[in-house]
Amino acid sequence: MALIDSIKHREHAKAHRPWPRAIVGDDGWKKAIDLLARGRCTLLGLWGDAPDVHMALLDEKAGDIAVVSYACKNGKYPSVAERHAPALRLERTIRDLFGMEAVGTPDTRPWLDLGFWDVRYPLGKRQRAQKPAPYVFLPAQGEGLHQIPVGPVHAGIIEPGHFRFTANGEHVVRLEQRLGYVHKGIESLMDGAALDAAAKLAARTSGDSTVAYSYAFAQAAEAALQVKAPPRANYLRALMAELERLANHFGDIGAICNDASFALMHAQTSILRERTLRAAEACFGHRLMMDVIVPGGVTRDIAPNGPAQLRALLSEIRKAFPRLIELYDNTASLLDRTVTTGIVKPALARQFGAGGTVGRASGRGFDARRNLNYAPYDEIKFDVPVLEAGDVNARVWIRIREVEQSLSLIEQILNRLPEGATRTSVKASARICEGLGVAEAFRGEVLVWLRLDGKGRVARCHLRDASWFQWPLLEAAIEGNIVADFPLCNKSFNCSYSGHDL
């Protein structure tokens, strides 16, 4: 039985692809919440589209997705977070952007609206901003507790966000995040944008995952317009996605060790990262491969000497990387910092539907490439590494194993790269149509939901980074750890601020 059929609904939305979207009433909405609360399916997204609220659900085992839509009554809808905590920040966001209220939500504080905008509800019925009420952090009670405020401007070359620690001596009793500092209003800029301009915006949602965002956006647009990218384009897309994964994993493995003051590893993995980016530039003309994936295919073919360059890169990495793994595994002082630090319990990872390294280090094996089986991953072989320990060490090892898988994937893609066109023409549909795309970025799945208005313009686009369901777990992971281990834990998550803040 398809997931959508287990939820009572009135009708199907007419042109929503590839998975169905159904209009539900109170009973259907409550049933969907019930499925989430009982762990029968995973929350994939919750977003506003005034006057409606949409919720995407995932049946992991079946690889099935359903979107249910609830028409708000007087701008109100029944809270999901009341029974399923992972929806909480999404509900606060819907209220900040649209003014739609979740009835029964356990937290009514703002989330992305930090009180600096000139307008309230920028995506809904706009109002003049009012003087914001002071933001109250959650309390922590006990003897000898003190607070440490950190950010939004941090000490390193990283993105801005605020962390409020309550500590007892060195031990963290509570961490509360406050994000939204890099909110650029991407979803509002998407409204009415032409498809190519919208693709550029999507590519700049989180620069480190630019390939994955373009990939998911192209999937959504192609689904809506019923266009298929040529096979060669699919393989080139996956090639770029794996290069992006490699570069980021090298960066992360080094940066985690660096935060444990083991700079040698950072120096070595930075060399591999740089070599990967240089190969990417040689193949696709841009170090981060920005704007190469577009709806309909890719804007350029791989350079004629690209495959040879990539094979040279693979052999270089295969020579250098095993020794770095050995270096990590044989340095007791480093393992002393990473093993048993910042544990995410598997039950929590499952409940929050945490993807990427965070989920896979805590027993949740979801990988959009495998579970949703999109092209060309349905034709090439790879393993999805899963560990149970959930500590910093496990997150390092997941990255190490994924580097090995990406190397094999790149080799397979080069061996099988089909001949032929790299792009098909994309014509605007005369009707309103909707599409959903999910692509696996290095930190987890990226979801893009898109409605086109029948004139080739975007009517509404929602982008959901994997970080939404990982950030809250960082608050849980740090509990009981020492303050000095926070950078280590944070880096082992490496959540996106920009991808989250939008």
């Binding site: 000139d118 509002s188 915006l201 620069g207 740089e274 980016l277």
Partner: protein
């Protein structure tokens, strides 16, 4: 570990010759930086990076400046953890309204004389994010900017060219 360390000592360094300073950058700096500041700062500059709303693409390339190929510190340039230790603020992103105050406070916490380097296309005028309710504008709309290094994101070589121009100018 010993083998990795030993090879680092015996093998040729990966570090590449620095590029020539960017001419446009030199021209822009002639207009903005006064002589007294140059004399004080001399040959070495401390940089404090501030992300005022970037997509994090620029941060990746700024990070790369520290790798073995570009090795920024050999030029007397280094990243510091506090604006109070900095001569240069390197600012990325369109400045979001949510970051405007934090950027201003960081600027005010940086002792004079100081330079501001705006990095990336968005830092010039907001780039593709200009016009959003959540974006205040480019860096120069909030604090005085002395140098712009364009690109989306600028490559480490482009960043180096701009920074070397800054050093040449400070000499």
């Amino acid at each position: 570990m010993r083998r990795t360390l030993f090879e680092s000592l015996t093998q040729r360094a990966l570090t590449e010759a620095p590029p020539a300073p960017d001419k446009t950058a030199l021209a822009e700096l002639t207009k903005s930086v006064n002589r007294a500041a140059r004399a004080k700062l001399g040959r070495s500059l401390s940089i404090r990076q501030v992300d005022a709303g970037s997509c994090n693409g620029c941060e990746l390339e700024i990070h790369a400046l520290n790798n073995a190929f570009y090795d920024l510190e050999r030029l007397g340039l280094r990243f510091v953890a506090s604006p109070r230790h900095a001569d240069v603020l390197m600012v990325t992103g369109p400045v979001t309204k949510n970051m405007r105050e934090a950027l201003l406070r960081t600027y005010n916490a940086t002792p004079d004389p100081k330079w501001v380097v705006a990095v990336g296309g968005c830092a010039v005028d907001g780039g593709i994010f200009a016009g959003s309710y959540a974006v205040a504008g480019g860096v120069k709309d909030i604090i005085p900017a002395d140098l712009h290094i364009r690109g989306c994101p600028p490559s480490p070589t482009e960043l180096l060219k701009g920074l070397i121009a800054l050093l040449e100018h400070a000499r």
